[in-house]
Amino acid sequence: VSSVNVDLQTDATLQVDISDALSERDKVKFTVHTKSTLPNFKQNEFSVVRQHEEFIWLHDSFVENEEYAGYIIPPAPPRPDFDASREKLQKLGEGEGSMTKEEFTKMKQELEAEYLAIFKKTVAMHEVFLCRVAAHPVLRKDLNFHVFLEYNQDLSVRGKNKREKMEDFFKNVVKSADGVLVAGVKDVDDFFEHEKTFLLEYHNRVKDASAKSDRMIRSHKSAADDINRIASTLYTLGTQDSTDVCKFFLKVSELFEKTRKIEARVAADEDLKLADLLKYYLRESQAAKDLLYRRGRALVDYENANKALDRARAKNKDVLQAETSQQVCCQKFEKISESAKQELIDFKTRRVAAFRKNLVELAELELKHAKGNLQLLQSCLGVLKGDT
């Protein structure tokens, strides 16, 4: 289960997980498995098969639902992306003739392992999304969510067509422009004012850290790959003869094979515990920002309604209408504020816990790997020096 699945209250009333996944050529099929004691489900335990687009549909339905304006909507899982991996596998197939059989098998294994890792990651991210929804006191009751979990057939949710994607694009432009406007309004409430500044800064820095950690991990992986090739070449050198120095080469080649595996694991762990963590909180902090935006929007609407009411009273025209409108805005605003406060506090708790857990685990793993590396080097040196 992914690195960010922390402190999500899994109680017996509703438990969701992804029990299986199948990768077909251009899509992944997730088997969503639910265990529940809630009365609205027909059975206590059941599974359905869902694809990525259906997850997105669910997420979007939350975002578009006015009722949920006051909550941090759990960020949608990223699209499964096997393109890079597939491309590499293809290139390998093309280059088969130019390398030795051992090299080919080795590289194939590597790439297959990489593919598997990406696969596991995407499964984990989809699972986290569902778990977050299931753990949320309000969202878990959502009807669409239940349909998603239970409905046996295809939801006939298609991905957005071009027109809809264009609409989305424009909507986003408008939204960000509006967001700037809204953000400019000073909030009366200190808590929210502070949160606004904090989230903005935090979000940007997480974005930066996420990008940089990705680059760092990529370098790490490249270095590990190089060590792999060194090991292969040393092996070839070592098998050319049976002199002393050749036996030496073979031993060193063996050592490098093993250290490379460790280096690759270090990079993979960093990826899982650090990079994924940062990426997830990048998305969640964006969702939190969205919440603040919605509240800000509601506040502006409320203030505008107030002004309109004042004007109406002054002119003594359409006062009732203005009053109702103002009431509505006020209620909406207060509702959002109340839940938003709690949501943001929860967000912080979750965040701290997730970071703590992952950083600790990462440090422990790195320590373990470094010790493993050390041991390998020591024993190899012992053998080599003993021989010479």
């Binding site: 850290a209 940089k212 050198l237 965040r351 010479t388």
Partner: protein, 509 residues
């Protein structure tokens, strides 16, 4: 076989009055090639009697002539009575010194030439540890270092001067320790001179580090950054290794040019070492024509040893080139990793700053610090990758090129012999024709020519046999040196990896 027949028992120390230097200048000198002075290890190992200990691979000593020659030396050396029983390598060491400082030997005489080597070769086989001790001992006999690079002058005429220090107990030098200042072109000049003199004998001349117009220009221009510093350091280390290989080589050490290089205060500027000089061009042309002729020569060698070894050398060179390319890639990736880690550390620090939960904020800052330290470690690791491993590979790729050159020399000698033979044949045909046509005056001339060419054929045949022996001997010595070099360097590299892992552990704790 030619080899043993021309090896006469060495003259007794002190009795020798021929000046081997003058002989060495003459390419046909036999003694010039057999000289091993003081540089124990490669020599001793190549000439140890084949009571090899378990560690020594048998194939090094499979050459019958070599060992018989060594044995003949041994018997003679024992008769010299200069050294005691050589059961114990302790004594061997002692006797080395004794013979070195034997007052009855004139400084450059054969006493120095023959006895110490014989002592060493007569040493009973040691285990590898003892051999390594000896190697440490031979730095006791002859040690060179290249240090203190200093920039002299300014602008485009500036150059780097390096201090070449020698410490030695060899009698052929004026002092025990001395140092001189040399510049890069001096090293190249030395190589040129040695090349001219010895490559025709089939010696493997260690090649010097490569010229680098880009690197040097940066230094000249005064770009004071880490890449220039790296370049200078790299060059210094390469020059040192080059010089160490030269003095390790028994025949080369005897060359007066080497001595002059190490001792003389002011060396005349080496000409012909500029990339674009006249001599440089000439060299390029020669090389091109050599390449063409190489393609057409094919020795029907009754001794398949040479063919096999050449093939081995070629395939090894290929592998080393591949390995070097990968190590280069590793160095680059590590440097990249280093940079990325530094950048990431800063980013994490920022994130820690903005995190309002104090505990987490502290934790993130600590993470940033750790990553920063990691960056330093990565950088050092990259440096070690480079300096130890990549340079070793680059050196050996160049050396293998020199080895191939050696083999080519032998082929050329063979060709010369064959051509002489065919010329002789033609002369004989001419003589036969003249005999038939009965022209007595021309006949006399033909007979003279035949005698002349018969002489040449014999000489060239002797040359060929001689160069074959030298090449074989050189090759074995080279293999041994290479084997030790690789092993020690790789061990050094692994040790550096080890250290770096230990530091990682300390940091993480």
């Amino acid at each position: 076989m030619a080899a043993s027949s021309r090896r006469n028992p060495p003259p007794l120390p002190g009795a020798e009055n021929q000046d081997p230097l003058s002989e060495m200048a003459d390419e046909d000198s036999d003694e010039g090639e057999d000289i091993f002075v003081g540089n124990s290890n490669p020599v001793a190992e190549a000439f140890q009697p084949d009571t090899a200990n378990g560690e020594e691979p048998a194939d090094l000593f499979s050459e019958a002539e070599t060992s018989t020659a060594a044995n003949s030396y041994i018997t003679n050396s024992k008769s010299n009575g200069v050294h005691s029983d050589n059961e114990n390598d302790l004594f061997a060491e002692v006797s080395v010194e004794l013979s070195m400082e034997n007052p009855s030997t004139t400084a450059k005489s054969s006493g120095a030439e023959f006895t110490p080597s014989l002592t060493l070769s007569a040493t009973q086989p040691e285990s590898m540890e003892q051999l390594e001790e000896e190697k440490d001992e031979d730095s006791f006999d002859m040690e060179v270092a290249v240090t203190n690079p200093e920039k002299i002058g300014d602008g485009m005429n500036a150059y780097m001067a390096y201090k070449v220090s020698t410490r030695t107990t060899l009698p052929m030098f004026r002092n025990r320790t001395f140092s001189v200042w040399r510049r890069f072109s001096d090293f190249l000049g030395l190589y040129e001179k040695l090349s001219v003199k010895h490559s025709l004998n089939g010696c493997i001349i260690p090649p010097p580090p490569e010229k680098s117009v880009v690197g040097m220009t940066k230094v000249k221009v005064g770009k004071d950054d880490s890449s220039s510093a790296d370049f200078v350091e790299r060059r210094r280390a390469a020059l040192e290794r080059y010089l160490q290989r030269v003095v390790c080589h028994p025949s080369l050490l005897q060359d007066p040019d080497v001595r002059e290089f190490l001792e003389r205060d002011e060396l005349p500027r080496a000409v012909g070492t500029h990339t674009l000089s006249g001599a440089g061009f000439l060299k390029m042309i020669n090389r091109a024509s050599d390449a063409v002729s190489k393609m057409t020569i094919k020795i029907s060698d009754s001794d398949a040893w040479f063919d096999n070894k050449l093939q081995e050398v070629e395939s090894e060179e290929l592998q080393l080139r591949k390995l070097h390319a990968v190590v280069d890639s590793l160095v680059n990736h590590r440097k990249e990793l280093c940079g990325n880690t530094a950048v990431f550390a800063k980013s994490m620090a920022m994130l820690g700053n903005s995190e309002d939960n104090t505990a987490l904020s502290r934790a993130l800052s600590q993470l940033a610090e750790v990553e920063d330290k990691m960056e330093t470690l990565h950088q050092e690791q990259a440096a070690s990758d480079f300096f130890i491993l990549a340079e070793l590979l680059a050196d050996y790729i160049r050396l293998l090129g020199a080895v191939r050159g050696c083999f080519e020399q032998r082929m050329k000698t063979w060709q010369r012999w064959q051509e002489a033979q065919s010329t002789l044949q033609k002369k004989r045909e001419v003589e036969a024709k003249l005999l038939w046509a009965n022209k007595p005056d021309k006949l006399q001339q033909a007979k003279e020519e035949i005698t002349e060419w018969e002489g040449k054929v014999t000489q060239y045949e002797r040359d060929f046999d001689r160069i074959s022996v030298t090449v074989r001997k050189e090759f074995l010595r080279f293999e041994k040196e290479k084997s030790n070099d690789f092993k020690s360097q790789i061990v050094k590299y692994l040790e550096s990896l080890l250290q770096s892992q230990q530091r990682v552990i300390c940091t993480l704790f």
